[in-house]
Each structure stands twice: as C-alpha cells, then as structure tokens.
C-alpha cells in the first residue's frame, strides 16, 4: 500500500502525524484481531496499548520488508500468544482449567455483533488456540498461510491443515448449536 509506505517513511523520520495516522488506521483492526484471538476485549486492548507504546519507540530501528499491516498483525499475534500461554498455564496452579470457555465475558465480541456473530464468537472461543490463531489471522487479519507459517515457525502445510480442522470444528460446533 502506497499510503503505508509513505507513513512508514515519515514515521521512521520521527513524524508525530504519521504515528497518529498509523494508529488511527490500524487500532480498530488490531483490537479486533487481538479480541478474536484472546476472546477478551480488556486484555486485547492492553496488548494493543503495550504494543503501540513499544512500536512508537522503535522509530529508526524498525526494518520493514513486507507490508505494515502484516507486520502489525504479526506483532500483536505474538503478544497475544504469549498472553495466552500465561493464561493457559496459570490454571495448572490455580486449578481453573475451564476458565476460558466458561468465562462469562467470553463473548465480548457480541457487544457489537449480531446474534449470529455471537454464536460464532462463542464457537471460536472453544477452538484450540493454534487453530483459532490460524483462522483469525487468515480470515480476519488477511494474512497468507505462508506468512502465518513464518510467524509460528511451522510449515505451511501444518498451517493449512490447522485451518481446515479449525473450520470443520467451527462448523460442527455451530451446527450443534443450531440443532439444539
């Protein structure tokens, strides 16, 4: 994208306006992405906040080969994954194995979604994280399988199969919901 190229050019030279424009342009996208990954708006907002603060400091050091959007999505997905691991492993100590699924705030997305979407987001929340990440990054984040593969350090074929299994599972989850 030409605008992104321009914005990066200016941002690297310390432009305040460029940072603001990057923020305005992508904050919604990143919060959506992080929320979909973590199924929790508050944590998602925290992650995006932390990310933007560290991004703002990176300035000159930043080396960007691909697209800005892909880069931002990668960074937020990484942070979300770290977060997710902390959360997943806490239950081991705190003995709350079911917390994510049973979380009453599990459908934060629903605040802005229709009932259909509510069902969907609930179903997404029940997916294993690996599958969820692939589905969200591919469909919501618009990233290619090869990009996701590079991000997670696994082969494209694995990513593809995770995507397929994830979709199948989503479908079966939703079908069972509907028939209930």
């Amino acid at each position: 994208m030409i605008e992104d190229k321009l914005l990066m050019w200016k941002f690297k030279r310390g432009s305040r306006d460029a940072l603001q424009r990057i923020y305005e342009k992508y904050v919604g996208y990143l919060v959506t992405l992080a929320t979909a990954l973590l199924n929790d708006v508050n944590t998602a907002e925290d992650i995006v906040h932390d990310f933007f603060v560290s991004f703002a400091q990176s300035g000159e050091k930043l080396r960007l080969d691909g697209s800005l959007r892909g880069y931002l999505a990668t960074c937020v997905a990484n942070r979300a994954r770290d977060k997710m691991r902390t959360r997943r492993r806490q239950p081991l100590a705190l003995d709350e194995a079911n917390s994510i699924c049973s979380n009453a705030r599990g459908s934060e997305l629903s605040a802005v979604c229709s009932e259909e979407l509510q069902q969907l987001s609930y179903a997404i929340a029940q997916l294993p994280y690996e599958q969820r990440e692939v589905i969200i990054l591919h469909l919501q984040g618009g990233m290619m399988f090869s990009q996701i593969g590079r991000l997670q350090g696994i082969s494209v074929n694995t990513i593809r199969s995770r995507y397929r299994y994830g979709l199948d599972k989503l479908r079966s989850l939703l079908n069972s919901e509907v028939t209930k």
């Binding site: 933007f52 050091k61 930043l62 469909l139």
Partner: protein, 1041 residues
C-alpha cells in the same frame, strides 16, 4: 443464513471498536513514548542486552551457562511473579546460592554444525568463572578484573584486563545478571512447572520460554526456551537444556544441553585446567587506554571513518593501535591514507619484511587497481573509447559510495524525448571516495550516450553531455535526499478510485541545470486510491494528469506562468475526477452490422479538434469514454478506412452525452457519390497536377441552421491528368486548396459551394488557381547518360530516378534567384545553378561534372599561418553581393599552419572564399571554374583587428582567479547556478556551491571579461575585470544588465 455455512464471511466482518478511553490513552502514551525515544537518542548509547548476548564474542565463551544462571538467579525478581512456578523456582535459587561451586558440562548443538562441548565452573564465593573448550581454556577473575586465555594448539597465552565496556561495565557475571534483570523485568519470561521421574529420581521440570513479539524491533532472537530439571529432594538444578532460534539466517536454531553438579571446591587457577606449568604468564598487561584506542579504531573502521583512522595513525599513543589503524586503512583502500602510511613506513626501525605500514600502502595500491579493473565492465572493445570518470557527491559535498553508474546508448530521436534505447554499454559503481570510472565505445553517428546514476536512497540522475574521448565529470549534484509526490484520486462523492492512470511531467529544479530535462512518469492508483512518484529530486516540479475510463481527465492547472505547480515533497494531493460521458456504438451498412476491426472513430466537440477516439473491435463496435457532458459531439470516420469499398460514413452529429451515462449511436455507412475534382491553372488554363486539396462540410445558411461547417471530411491530390475522384455522402461541401499569390505567400482558395444530392451519379468541381513554381528536369553526366542523385533548392529536395528525372513541385517563389545544387548519388559529380525561372517541362537537363577542391593558406599580416580562421565558400550573386549556404555541401580542413583545403565544390556559379570571422583582405573571388581542377587561391591575409579577436593570451598569462558570491533578491545564497565566461573558444564555468560561491580559475589576469550567470529569472551578464577581487552578484527578478 446459518452461521455454519458462511463462517469465512462472518469472521471477516467481525469488528470490535476500541473503547474511547483506551483509544485516547493509547494514542497519548504512544506519542509520548515517541517523543521520549527521540530525546534518548542516539540509540547506540543504550546497549541492547540481547544483541550482546547473541553477538558478543566474549559471551560466546559462556553463552549457555551464563544465560541460564542469569535466568535462574533472577527469576524471583521478575516483578514478583505470584504464580506457583515462580515461587517454587525461588526456593531452588535460594538453595543454589548456598553452594560454593557449580560445575556445568554443556554441549552446544548449532544447526548444521558439529556439536561442541564446554566444561564450566562457577565459583560463587571466589567470583571466578572457568571455561574449558576442546582447544582452549578461559578464566574470568571478576574480583581482580582479569581475563586469562590459553590455547593448547599454539600455546598462546594472553592475559587482559576485563574491559570497561558495554555490559562488562558490570565487573562480574553477577552484576551482569542484574543488568539482565533490568531488561527482563519489562518482558516477563513465562514459567511453568511439571513433575516427572527421570532416572528413577523425582524431578520438577521448569520451563521458561519467551518469544519476542516485536519482530525485528529489538533483537535477533525469535524464540528462547529453557528447561531446568530440579531434584525434588535437595531442590538443586541438576540438568537442563536451552533452545534459541534466530530471526535471521533462515531461523537458525541452536540447542544446548547441560548437566550440573555441585562440588565442594573448583579449580584454583588456570593451571589446574591442564595449562602446562611451563607456560609463563605474559607480564605485559594491555591497559585500558590501549583497549580504548583499539576499540576506537575498530569503530572508526566500522563506519568507514578514514580521517579518524589517519588521526590515530599520526597521533596514536600505542604502536599496536597504529598498526591496527594501518590494517583497517588497508582494508578500506583509501588513497588519502597513503601519505601518512608512507611516512610511518619510513620511520620503521625493525625488520623491513615486518613493516605493517609498507604492507598497508601496497595493499591500498593493489585494491585501488583492482577497483579500477573490477568495477568497470567493458562490453565491447572498440577502436575509439570514451573514458568517463568522476566523483559523485551529495549536497553537503560528501562522497557517496555505491552509486551505480551506467552508460546507456540511445538512437537520436526527432525530439530529445523520442530517443530510443539501444543498449547499456558500461557499468560501474562509485567507491568509498565517491569516485567511478568507466569506459565505453564511442557512439556511432546518429547515436548518443547518457550516463545514469542510480542508488536506492538517492534520486536517479542523468548526465547527457558526453563529448570527446575523455570526460571527467564534476557531477556534484547527484545525491540529493530523495523526495516524492503522493496523493489520492477520488470521485465526486469522495470514493477512492482504483486503477486510475496518473502521469507526471517532471521538470527538475533550476538549481540542477544539467538535469533540467523533462521526464514523464506514469503510475496507477492502488486499492486505496493512492499514487506515489518517488525518487524525485528535492525541488523537482511536476505537472500531473489523472484519468480513468468513464471519467474526465484531470490536469493540474498552471499557477501564473508556472505550468508545473506541484512541488516534490507534496504528499497529500487530492484529485477529484468528474464522471465523463461515454458513447458506445457500432457500424452498420444497408441496415446490417458492418463487422470490421480497426476503424478509427473520432469524437469531436462541435467545432473543435478531436476529444476522444476509439477503434472498432471485430464486431464493428466501439466505445469512447471520458467525454465532457457539457458539450455536444460529432462522430466521424476518416474516409481512408473505406478506400476501395465505395462506402463512406455519414457523420453522426449533435450527440449529447450525460455524466456517467452511455449514449448509444449507430454509425451508418453509405455508398458514396463519386465527385470529380479538377484544378486549373488560371494563367494557362491547363490542369494542375499533384495539387493537394481538402473538402469541408458547408452550409450557406449556417447562421440560421446552426449546422457545424468547415469540418474536413475528405482530402485528396490531383493526379497527372489534374483530376481526382472522391466518394462523398449527400451534403453541401466546399473545396479548399492553396495557391501562390503575388507576394509569394500561400493563400487559401475556396471553390463555390457544391451540392452532392442523394440521387446524383456524378458531380464535377473545378477551381482555378495560380500554382506554385515547379522545377522538372533530368540529371545527366557530361556524356548525356542519366544520373541518379538529388536536387536541392533552398529547403526543397527531390531525388532523381534511374532515368535521371526529378520533380521539385512546390518551390517557394522567393527561392527564385537562389542557388540550387544537384549531386550524383556517389557525390563525385555535381553542379550548382541559379534557379532563375520556373521550369516545368521535362526538357531541362542539368549536366553534372566532377567536383573540385580549393586550397590555400590563411596568414596574418606578418605572414604567420593561422589555424583559427576558418575559410568558407560563399555564392556570388549577379548584383555583386554574396551569401553562404546554411548547410554547406563541401568540407573544409585546416592544419595548424593555416593551410586549408575545401573539398567537393561543384562548378556552375561564381564563388567567393572568405574567412570567419569576416575580415580577410581580400575575399577571394573565384570566377567560372573548370571542373575537376584543384584551385589554389594563395594566401588570404587576415586584418589586424580581426587577429586580436582570434588570438588567445599566451599560456603564461593564464593564472588569474575570479570568485564571488551569488545571492538572490533576499540576499540568500543561490546554489547550483551556472557562472560562465568565455575567452576566445575557451569556456570557464562553475556551479555555485551550497554557500552560493563560485570560483573560476586559470583566467587571464587583468583581462576584461563578460560573466554570464544562468538563473531562473533571466540569464544575466556582467562586465568584470579579473583582478583578484571577489565579484559578488545579487540577482533580482527580471534583471538583465
């Protein structure tokens, strides 16, 4: 819709709006963080611990274990992690602190390499660390700040002080841990634990992992994972593994496995690790200062600071640092270092063979020679080569390294912009000093070279004027900071337009006079409507057009007289395209579709030139878009598309198009009515042949009917019988042709209106005119045989056929009385003649005879030969005056003693030989000449006053300089302005530098000169005397002195 059926679509439309509070606070924090990071600059002052861990050669010694200890020791300080895993680990750490020694055997498995095993001892109480490798031993004594190193293979034994540098500022491994904690506090490691049984023992496995989220921002490490296996009884670490994956180098992974034991005591010193006791400790300790100096030299080398290295060479305190600087300089290969190096080489006291400075000098010389040969790619070996060399500097006069210089060969075009690329003939790259050199074969006739300078970070630059065989370019203006122009194209409703063509006509800033050529750039808008022209010069000016099918073309409007209103650096231009009308249609003939491809349909605004055009497809359909909805259009097809078919197209008139709408039109083809045209010579009454004419639509009552008139529908040329037949649709027409009037100017003649009726079979139109003078005849040789060649009278030219016949049909009446020339094809025969009358019978014969040469000598009044005065041939007229041809058919050569030869002069008319500048005494008049002879005109004496103008001052007098300051009307210095003066045939020129200063050297001292200054206001010239004083100029708009 069931959600399960459309999952992908649903996920795509998921959207979460961040809360207003979060939105504001994040933006505020990010902007603050940005401000802060600007203040903390420069970045190198903040060592990045991860980079150090991975890259530092010293940490490689103990990479695995040190990091593990750092993690282990510091884990309880990770911001007081409340989770159970963290608490459990804290116990382990407490226990480990109680032991005096820790022994680690670790194996490193770098991907794609052989595994390496190290043996390490950590003395917590004695503050010593020992590392044993296969071939070497290392000891860090943190209490005494010393570092010991012994290599078994060559018995190298070194003792150095632990340097005051980067993280070693902390003078022990344990304070290094603290630094690590500072970093790690911000980004927590993830700690988990699990129970397991290993070799029959109950163990706990702690897993510490971290992936680095902000790719490329802070570290080269992508993921880092450590597993620590702890004995559940004594809570001591006894084994573990670490895995590190790099971001770069293809995600290279390194694994460490280690096993830990806790002995009561460890090695006392380095001899305990197998170093032979005979190995003597070196007594000389490298001091901190030497280390600093060496380090400084290394850093200078890293940034290519030649000057700094030379300073170390000359003023350094230590021999070692001088030698290091010499070695670095040898690697850089800069010529400027040779002088100091040679000086040091001479002072060298020891063995000549060991002289490092002499070695560095020869290395530099060798490198420079290699650069010369390597960087220049000579494509073809030609007899005559052009050697281009020069220097490329940025606006601050710093040399730029790595500029790609390319010589491109072009065919000359009719206009400069029409040049056609032939090939790239040579390539080179500028070295560290910004210099380049390339050699290319000289361009053949009709071709020219252009040098292209390219670099990703600089605007592309071109150099056109390559003259002579050796060109030394002082092109000082290549590397400007790149600039760009960007913007968006939208429609009237503010929606972005994707795929619009955006074209920019670039005019570079006047400050770059040699590159001030136009260039056209074309791009397309992206899915967000953005376009970008990058790699422009700062100060480039642009005229931008944007268009897309269905829209009216947008062009930037001129501001005042400035047709290039867009300046480089403008980055948000907004172009709004208004919707245009579209005409779609097809051709029919006798009610059926006429399916023919490639017929050009032209839409004209009524009474104007073409505004749109389209070519029919194979179904005879066409589509013309981007028409202005406020106008009415007429569709026409040129009759030449129907030659031989007897068909013609009736123009469709008065077509109204609506904005964003499509108007349908059917173009009906009809059988035309043949109309015979005849043009008569009003004097003789005979038909005029080869006379062009055109037919236009006409309506005598067009004031009332408002019908479009004067639209050309057909054109033709009378044949040898003075006739021409055209097919026309029923309508009223007029014939237009031109004739020669009494003043010798062409004048339009109109026929009477003629009506072509639908039922008329044939129409005849006749017009009388006074035709142009003509010259018809034959070229023959002295034996009467026909000659192929050409005849030229002033601008008109005709070629004779094999029978020697030629026809010059449209001579200008004022050409009569001037000389004409006829030459045979092989340029051996020729004749000049006066074109006194119109000859239009084929009886005229021009007899060509052999050409002759004129020889002689130009001398000054003292009899000295003059090479500067050029003798030329003029034509003597009957009234005694003479003139020179603008383009001479003959060639003059002069040698340095003034002897000249004018080759290939035709017989036929009296001629004059005179010199330029005029002032010979006398001009030599040559009467009627005999063909084939060599004519010696003897000496031509140049007048004294002319001599003054020809002569240049003697060489000894050329030592004056002229310099000064050029400012604009506000008193600001003007950069890049050409300042030039000329003495005789020599030019002296300079461009003003960034401070507006110029300096012309080698001028004749005390001479009066005319100084010309090129500037955007107007070229100005000044009378100056070169007397050593500065001559400052203040330019003002419109000034001309």
């Amino acid at each position: 819709m069931r959600p399960s059926e459309n999952i992908s679509k649903l996920i795509r439309i998921l959207h979460v709006t961040p809360s207003a509070e979060m939105y504001e606070s994040t933006l505020r924090d990010a902007l603050e963080a940005q401000e802060k990071s600007k203040k903390i600059k420069p970045a190198p002052a903040q060592p990045n611990i991860w980079t150090i861990i991975v890259k530092s050669p010293i940490t490689k010694l103990a990479a695995a274990a040190v990091i593990i200890i750092a993690v282990v020791v510091s884990i309880n300080q990770f911001g007081g992690s409340p989770d159970m895993a963290g608490i459990a680990l804290a116990d382990v750490i407490e226990n480990m602190k109680k032991v005096p020694w820790m022994e680690v055997v670790s194996t490193e498995y770098p991907e794609g390499e052989e595994p390496r095993t190290h043996h390490e001892w950590y003395g917590f109480a004695s503050k010593k660390t020992f590392v044993k490798y296969a071939d070497s031993v290392c000891c860090f004594d943190y209490a005494n700040r010393k570092q010991y190193f012994y290599r078994f293979s060559d018995q190298a034994f070194e003792v150095t002080e632990l340097p005051e540098h980067s993280f070693y500022r902390a003078n022990s491994a344990f304070s290094f841990v603290n630094e690590f904690i500072q970093y790690a506090k911000d980004d927590r490691f993830l700690v988990t634990q699990r129970k397991d049984i290993l070799n029959g023992e109950d163990v706990k496995i702690f897993e510490l992992s971290k992936s680095f989220p902000d790719v490329g921002m802070t570290t080269d490490v992508a993921t880092f994972k450590i597993e620590l296996i702890v004995n559940r009884e004594n809570k001591l670490l006894f084994a573990g593994s670490a895995k590190r994956k790099l971001l770069h180098e293809g995600g290279k992974t390194t694994t460490y496995n280690f096993k830990v034991t806790y002995p009561e005591s460890g090695p006392r010193d380095i001899y305990a690790l197998g170093v032979p006791s005979t190995a003597q400790l070196p007594t000389v300790y490298a001091s901190d200062k030497l280390y600093e100096e060496l380090n400084e030299a290394r850093e200078m080398f890293a940034v290519g600071d030649v000057e700094g290295l030379v300073t170390i060479l000359l003023q350094g305190q230590f021999e070692e640092s001088k030698v290091a600087a010499a070695n670095y300089l040898a690697k850089i290969g800069d010529l400027s270092a040779v002088g100091p190096l040679e000086k040091l080489a001479e002072e060298w006291q020891e063995e000549t063979a060991d002289n490092p400075f002499a070695a560095a000098v020869s290395e530099i010389r060798k490198r420079l020679e290699e650069e010369d040969t390597e960087d220049t790619t000579q494509i073809t070996e030609a007899e005559k080569n052009i050697t281009c060399s020069g220097i490329v500097l940025d606006p601050n006069d710093n040399p730029i390294e790595g500029i790609d210089v390319r010589a491109e060969l072009y065919y000359n075009g009719y206009y400069t912009d029409w040049r056609i690329f032939a090939e790239t003939t040579a390539k080179a790259r500028t070295n560290k000093s910004g210099q380049f050199k390339l050699s290319m074969p000289s361009a053949k006739y009709g071709m020219h070279h252009i040098l292209v300078f390219e670099h990703p970070e600089y605007a592309t630059n071109w150099y056109h004027n390559i003259r002579g065989t050796r060109v030394n370019l002082g092109v000082h203006m290549v590397g400007a900071e790149p600039s760009f122009v960007a913007g968006q194209v939208i429609d009237e409703e503010g929606n972005v337009i994707e795929g619009a063509v955006v074209r920019a006509l670039v005019k570079c800033h006047q400050s770059y006079p040699k590159t001030g050529r136009r260039a056209t750039l074309t791009t397309y808008t992206d899915s967000e409507g953005w376009f970008l022209f990058d790699k422009l010069y700062e100060g480039a000016r642009l005229h931008v057009d944007a268009w897309k099918e269905g829209y009216l073309r947008y062009s930037t409007e001129s501001i005042g007289r400035d047709a290039y209103p867009v300046r480089a650096g403008m980055d948000y231009l907004l172009f709004t395209l208004e919707p245009g009308g579209t005409i779609i249609g097809h051709l029919t003939s006798r009610g059926k579709p006429y399916r023919r491809e490639g017929i050009l349909v032209v839409a004209r605004r009524t009474g104007s030139a073409a505004s749109g055009q389209a070519v029919t497809d194979k179904n005879g359909e066409f589509k013309i878009s981007g028409l202005d909805p406020k106008r009415r259009y007429t569709l026409t097809i040129d009759e030449r598309f129907f030659i031989g078919t007897g068909l013609i197209c009736k123009p469709a008139e008065n077509i109204q198009v609506g904005a964003g709408e499509k108007s349908k039109v059917v173009l009906e083809l009809q059988a035309g009515v043949p109309v015979t045209f005849r043009i008569i010579d009003s004097d003789t009454g005979q038909a005029v042949y080869n006379q062009p004419f055109s037919v236009v639509l006409w309506d005598p009552n067009y004031h009332e009917t408002r019908k479009p008139v004067n639209i050309r529908v057909a054109s033709g040329r009378t044949d040898a019988s003075g006739r021409s037949v055209l097919m026309l649709t029923p309508n009223v027409y007029q014939l237009h042709t031109s004739e020669w009037d009494a003043q010798g100017e062409s004048e339009e003649r109109l026929s009477k209106d003629f009506n072509v009726g639908a039922d008329s079979n044939e129409v005849s139109v006749e017009v009388s005119i006074t035709p142009y003078p003509k010259l018809y005849g034959r070229l023959v040789d002295t034996e009467g045989k026909p000659v192929e060649g050409q005849v030229t009278v002033v601008g008109e030219q005709a070629i004779s056929n094999v029978a020697g016949e030629f026809a010059l049909s449209r001579l200008h009446p004022t050409d009569l009385g001037r000389a004409g020339y006829a030459f045979a094809k092989d340029k051996r025969l020729g004749r000049a003649f006066f074109c006194r009358e119109v000859i239009d019978t084929n009886q005229t014969e021009i007899v060509l005879e052999p050409l002759f040469d004129i020889v002689g000598r130009v001398i000054d009044p003292n009899g000295e030969g003059l090479a500067d005065a050029l003798p030329k041939v003029g034509i003597l007229m009957s009234n005694g005056r003479w003139y020179r041809e603008r383009i001479a058919w003959w060639k003059t050569v002069v040698d340095k003693d003034g002897w000249f030869r004018i080759k290939g002069v035709p017989v036929g008319v009296p001629m004059v030989v005179s010199i330029t500048p005029p002032g010979a005494e006398p001009d030599v008049i040559l009467g009627p000449l005999q063909p084939g002879e060599e004519i010696d005109v003897g000496n031509i004496v140049v007048k004294v006053e002319v001599l003054e103008r020809l002569r240049e001052p003697a060489d000894a007098e050329w030592y004056g300089n002229l310099s000064g300051l050029v400012t604009d009307e506000y008193g600001d210095p003007v950069m890049g302005t050409l300042v030039e003066t000329r003495i005789g045939r020599r030019y002296f020129r300079d461009f003003t530098d960034i401070d507006g200063r110029y300096e012309l050297t080698g001028l004749p001292r005390g001479e009066k000169l005319k100084l010309n200054i090129e500037h955007r206001y107007a070229p100005a010239s000044y009378d100056v005397v070169c007397d050593g004083n500065d001559f400052d100029v203040q330019l003002s708009p419109g000034e001309q002195k």
